[in-house]
Structures are given as structure tokens and as C-alpha cells.
Amino acid sequence: MERRDFLRGLGAIACSAAAHPLMNTVTLASGRGLGDHRLIVVILRGGMDGLDVVQPLQDPDFRALRPGLPAAALPLTGGFALHEGLGGLAPLWQAGELAFVHATSTPYRDKRSHFDGQSLLEAGTGMDVQVGAARDGWLNRMVQAMPGLRAETAYAFGRESMPLLTGAGPTLSWTPEVRLDLSAQGRQLLEHVFHDDPLFREAGGQALRLSEEEVEMGAAAAPASGPLVPGQDRPWRDVDLLADFAATRLRGETRIAAFSLSGWDTHRGQAAALPRALSRLQRLVLRLRHQSGAQVWGRTVLMAMTEFGRTARENGSGGTDHGTAGAMLIAGGAVAGGRVLGRWPGLAEADLYDRRDLMPTSDLRHWAGWAMRGLYGLDRAVLERQVFPGLDLGSDPGLLL
């Protein structure tokens, strides 16, 4: 499919959707915004090694493929065990607030490029659409499917751009690191100067608004800076800043949040490199949970997903190379947790994808789709045609409580 056809197709769906009788429930729901549920998506950039994070210890072929990488010690279910680097999440597992999906992937195959892989992950399209052709991200298209939302509803947090949440739907993005010292007159004149350039009018206007609000909220939030699960967890200042700012928003009007964490591209020395990345992911989850409070966390689903998994075999330098299927982490009080989901394909040579990678047995859009359907009641047709065009949503995996 050519890009133009694809975009025209989406536009047509979006236009007809408003008038479609099936859409009424959604339209009505938008009167109350998205209700009370929160969806947080974390993009893990660089290709997380799902096989190292959720280790299939009882698979007969596993240890032989990875003689140089340390074995996980925290038992999950179904013969899987969790990497020590996520040890701080054990209380969530016990409380049923944590689940994993194994052997899942986007539809991206064979080329194993970070940039294409992330592009497809965030566009939410299949391999039938040219990579890079979709100009909006799937989370933004979900926002578009719920007309009448305010920008405050959906937020991208952090310095990095988030194609996942980019598009025609109203969203905001912010990093809690900037302060502006301006007179009232200065603010007005800036708005005047931005006015005729739409890009600057929007971005500059939001910058002025957010920097003002942040000064007000700055004093209120001054939480503890130590570990949240002693002995298992350590603070990361940048992660904490982000999580605290996000939690303030999530306690307020925000229902959709997007983050990205990098550092997963472990081509060498994985035994040392992966724990660092896991520690940051774990801290983000723990800090969001702590700062958003029991009531908000109880209505939250956080999904952490990556562009691809890594090779089943350890490479020649104590690391792993770009692969295909990997794992997804799902956390939150609204999750029916304590489970490792997905069909396990096995690691015998013939079971591997291309005889080198973990075989994908599910499309990660399936899980994200059911989460959105469960949280916000999105119609199956909207999910299969608009949010994830061409996806067969399949049957309900019962992700949520």
C-alpha cells in the first residue's frame, strides 16, 4: 500500500466514524473524557532482551544458548524466572499487579533495524505499510478516536520526541527541567511574536503555560529520594523527576501517558549493561506507583514494550544481537497480574525464527488493543481499522481485573 492510500484510508475512517451509529457509545463516553482509567505506555528503545529479562529456565535449550549470561533467581509461573534487575518489582508480582507477555513482537521482520523497528512499533502499522510512511502514532490515533478530549488528557513525558503520541489528536509533551523568568509583559509579547507561525504558536504557547504551572506545583511535591523497595531499588534523579511530574498530571486530568527509556541495545557485556537499564525501568514503575497514590494506581495499566527482542544465542562478545520476538511488561492496579502470558514457542533450533531468534507467537498490538478496549470500551472496529489498521484483534486475553 502506498503512503497516500494509507493516509487517505485513515482520513476516511476518521470522518465517517463520527457519523457511525456504532461510535455513539464512544462519543458519549467522551463527555466524561476517558473515565477514570489511566494507560501508560513506556517505549524501551534499543531492543530489550526478553529472554534475559523473563528467562525460560525450564526450557531444555535455554542454558546452552546462553552459557555466559547469569541465570535469573526470582521464580514467576510456568517455569519462567525474573531477572534480578527487576527484583524490586517482586511485591507487585505478589500483589497481582504485574504480568509479562512472552514471545510477542510487532509485525516487523527480518531487517532488524532499531529505527524501522521503533518506527513500526510507534506507528502501530503492519508490514503492508511502508515503514516511516505513517505520520501519526497509534496512541495518538486512539486519542483521535475519542473526539472532544482536551490536550491535557494525553501527555508525552521527557526530553525525547515520542512518535507514538504524535499526530492530529490533541496531546501535550513536557520535561520538568526548565524554568522561565518572564514579566507579564514579556509573556504577552512572546505570544504576539509566535502568533503567525502555527508551529511556534502551539509549542511556544504550551511552553509558557506549562512553565507557569510548574512553578506553582514545584513546592507541593517534595517526596522521599531514597529506595522504594530497600535493597532492590535505587533512585535515578532524571527518572524520579519525570515520574513525579507525570504522577501529578495523572492524579489530575491526564489519562494517557507515554515515556521512553533507552539503554537496551546490549551488543556486548550484557551482564553489566542490562541491569542498569532494568534498574531505570523498575524505578519508573515503582516511583509512578508511589507518587500517583493507591487510588490512581488501582485504575492504571502500564505497558512497557520494545521494538524487537534479541538473538536467542549469546554472541561472541558477551551480548546479544538484534532479534525478533521479545517480552512485554504490564503493571498496574487494574491488571490481572501474577501471570506470564503468551504461547511459548520453544528454543530448539527448528522452533526459532530464522533459526536465530525467539519465534513471535503473538502481535503486541493484540495486547495493547485489548488493554485499550478494556480500559475505555473502544469498539473492536475502531481498534482494527483506525488505531491498528489491519490488525485482527483476536479473542480477549483477560488482561484486566
Binding site: 525525547e160 520526541s161 514579566s183 509579547l189 511574536v193 511556544g204 504550551q206 511552553a207 544481537d321
Partner: protein, 451 residues
Amino acid sequence: MSDQISIAARRFGYGLPLSEGAATSPGAILAGLDTADDMARIWPVPGMAEVLPILQHAQAGRRERRMTGAPSETYETAVRLSRQVARDAARATIARALDAPCGFRERLVAFWSDHFTVKARNPPEAVLPEAMVTDAIRPHLSGKFADLLIAATLHPAMLVYLDQVASIGPGSPFGRRRKRGLNENLAREVVELHTMGVGAGYGQDDVRQMAELLTGLDATAAEGFVFRPNRAEPGPETVLGRRYDGEGLEPVHAVLRDLAARPETADHLSRKLAVHFVADEPDPALVAAMVQAWRDSDGTLRAVYGAMLHHPAAWGAEMRKARQPFDFIIAACRALGLDGLRLASLPDRPVQRQLIAPMALMGQRWRGPGGPDGWAEDARAWITPQGMAARIGWAMESPQRLIRDLPDPRDLAQRSLGADAGEALLWAVARAETRREGVGLLFSSPAFNRR
């Protein structure tokens, strides 16, 4: 409306005001590339040969640390030295951009340094990206792309950053003895990012064969670049249907020359240059002219730049690109009259605080793009709420810390934007309560941030 001088300065250089006698016509801008590289001489940055002792120190320090189990003073010294070299290199790079009579050359250096992105992955390596600019990028700016590609691919900074130093032919003597194997990282990026482009006509097999072909390339602290025959995968390899056999570096050079000569490479890089300099969605006729020049000249970069500079579509009056944070800060400093000498007189601290740290806040950490694909081009990637907050914050605060007396904002608007200042901006700047806010308004404005 923009006139030719303003377009030449902003689109192909670091903005107005231009220095006396600066080039503004396509021919003169191009001819500027043929002169000696004065900026590299006046504001030098060490190459690989000069930084090897630092890396040797770091290596000795690591060994000490392993033996004694305690922190090593030798290692800490190496880290300190490396950081100082990197800080000085950042300063030199800024000074070159401030002082360059031909801003186009410095802009090209930035473009190719980004195209061949390398990053430091531990503190002693901070010297490597700077050395690569000195050794590989600056000397090959306007010659054959193939020569630039070979110099960049074989540079120790690249071999380390993209894990080539950890890739061993599994059938080589070293690989068999130590049971070590391939790492595909560099092979993939050379094909995907550096030459043909993502999604061009290559497959996983080509990447794999390319990785086998590149085995043997290595870098050490003792020697810098080395070729190690005992790590090279034996036997011929086939990449994109062509068979490479032979010993030593010869097949590596051959495959890089062939990749440089692919039509996909001409398309990919012509378009990338046009996107960087002219517009996020460049006129197809402009790109076509550059591709034609690439083919007619066997990939001579000067000819491709020439096709761009001589094409009418490159001189459209509408400024559609957003200045990247580095370019934004340089343009503002030039407008304020800051030059290399004044910069050299500043201590490290204000340089870090007023120039280097703010770039990171605007989304462009010094030598720190997210991955090997470098910085984004799209204006929307830079002009975001947080990006704008950081630009406004800098515009309001930093100028007064960089020069003693702030100029009249109205004069500054004329000097830095010429006819592009526009009435609305001049109206607003004249109404600011203070010089500080007037200057801040000017530097925050769309007119100043676009090029």
C-alpha cells in the same frame, strides 16, 4: 522578504551578520571549500595520534584497578585528561563556527559528523568523536564520497562505537581458539545508515556477509587502527550479488567503494543533504539535480553541493527549517558579536553553563544523539514545548552573561535578521520592558529560529 544575502547566510551558514567580503553567491560559497582549512589550524582539535596516550593511560589504569581491586589514580587522570580534551574540542568547534568566513564548510562538517555519528560509551572515550572529525571528516569534505566513507568506517571511533572491535570471524584462527563470533552492528549501519538507506534493496544475508567481510578491523590504545588477519573470516563473501575475495584490507575497501557507487546511495545522500540544508520536504527537482551531479561526477561531493547551491529551489524565500540548537546558539552568539577570541577568554564554567548545557536542554546534547542515526531534521522534532521553553529560557538569560553590554534589541533585530525581521517582531521588540527581554523576544521569535 528574504534576499539572497540573508538566504546565503542563514540557510548555508550560521546567519547574519556576515563578515566582510563573505561569499553570498553559489559559486563563491563553493569556492570557499577550495581554500585552506584555516579554522582547523587556528582552533585545532587533536586527532587519533594525539589522543592515543590518554587511551593508553586509561587502559593501564584499568589493569591497575583489576590487579589491586582499588580505584586507580592512573585511570582517573586519563578520565580527567579526556574530559578536558573533549571540552576544549567543543569550545574549538564553537569558535570555528563563530569565526568561519565560509560558514558552509562548518555546516558541512556538522552534517557529515552527524551522518557518521559516533559517541563515547565511557569517560575515557570522550576524545574519540572529536578525533574522528579531525582525521576523517574535515579532510574529506568535498572529495569523493567513497574516500569519506572509508575514512569514517575505518576510524577507531567508529570501530569502537559500533562494536566492530568485538566482531570476530568465527572461522578465523582467533575465533576458533576463543570460540568468539560476529557482531553485525557496524556492517548493518554501514549499509543501512551510511550508504544505501533504510529499506533499500539489501537483505539480512547481505548484512551477515558484510559482517564477515569486515572482520579483522580493530582498534587498540597502543596503535589506533589495526588490521588483524587472524580475526578475519577466511574465504570469499558475497554482498549484494558481488563476490569479494582477497587478503587484508583490499576487499574491505572494495566493498565500501561499491556501496558508495550504488544508485541507492546517491539517492539517499542527495536527499539527505537537501533535507538538511533546504527543506524538510525538498523540491524533487532539486534532489534530482543533485543525484544527477552525483552520477556525473562519480560521487564527488563538491559537485553535489554545487548542484544544490546552483538550483533555484535552494533559494526559495520561505524559511521552512528550524535551526538546530547548536546552530541557534551560534547564530545568536554571532549576532551578539561574540567571536572565537572572546570565547577563548572565558573560563570553562560559563562555557558549560551558557553554551553546552543549554543545547542539551533544547534537545541536542553535545556529541550525544540518541543513536547512530544522529539528530532529527524535522522542525517539529525541535520546536516542541520543552524545546521552546529551553530556547526562551536561554534567550532571556544567557546573552547578558556572555557579553558585557546588551545592544539595543531593535538594532540587533536589523543586524541578525535584516529584511526578515518583519513588522510584528520589530513592534514587539520595541515594546519590551528591558533590553534583556527585548533580546530574549528576538531570539525566541520564529523568524530567528527558522532558516
